[in-house]
Subunit: 112 residues, 2 copies
DNA sequence: TGTGATGCATTAGAAAATTATGTATACATT
DNA sequence: AATGTATACATAATTTTCTAATGCATCACA
């Protein structure tokens, strides 16, 4: 919702995590999955998604496989081997970050 | 560390939270406090900090009080009334975001 | 037949950082 | 005396990463 800007920088990690859980996905599917998983809180725009996918592919973290469904085009993405490794790294990084932020802003613990 | 880019978008919230906990602080003090609280994981650069402080001030969320310590200048910032309200909002937003991300990157261990 | 959903993509622009640089004081070490 | 590190402010150029807008095309369905 209002916190849409907070997710800056975590899109790649989100994509990688989804592909780790789902083997292969296509772009539109990713946007819908994120919307569903976050109950509409996070909306991935196409202007962010497609460049991100292209970059991950260019970096060798994703493989593409084009499929035709009816007369419609789909590009299925899946993790390469090095993509799997990078996913583990990025997820660890994210966990660390979440822990740090949790600690920073948690109202229960005042910051001295 | 490597997750330095993940914090994009949360600097304002961090500043506001620190000022909520500490009544008044000056810029350099904020950078040191964040470094200390996060054990060096998060480093606020001046190029990000000062523009952020100026914006918060311009938006009426912070008041400034200039102090001279020895021959050195310090600008102490503290929350205005509307700053306190906004802090509450931003902290709630952040909690929500952290929960969402936690759920996204580790659906197995949801927080709820 | 036109509207919303599906599916790809790019472009212009904004937001929010990093990096580099600048000024100046203070203190400790060589 | 000179050098480096810490303290303390600040800005400018650049980069990263998004949003918003737009475009093309297929498909379902009312």
């Amino acid at each position: 919702m209002g916190n849409q800007k907070l997710y800056k920088g975590s899109l790649q990690t989100i994509i990688l995590k989804l592909l780790e859980s789902n083997d292969k996905m296509y772009g539109y599917e990713i946007t819908q999955k994120v919307k569903e998983l976050t109950k509409g809180e996070l909306k991935i725009t196409e202007g962010a998604l497609y460049p991100a996918l292209h970059k991950l592919e260019a970096d060798g973290l994703l493989d593409v496989e084009v499929a035709k469904v009816g007369n419609r085009l789909r590009k299925y993405y899946k993790l390469t081997e090095s993509g799997s490794k990078e996913t583990a790294n990025k997820l660890a990084e994210m966990q660390e970050f979440l822990k740090t932020m949790q600690h920073l802003v948690n109202p229960k613990f005042s910051l001295e």
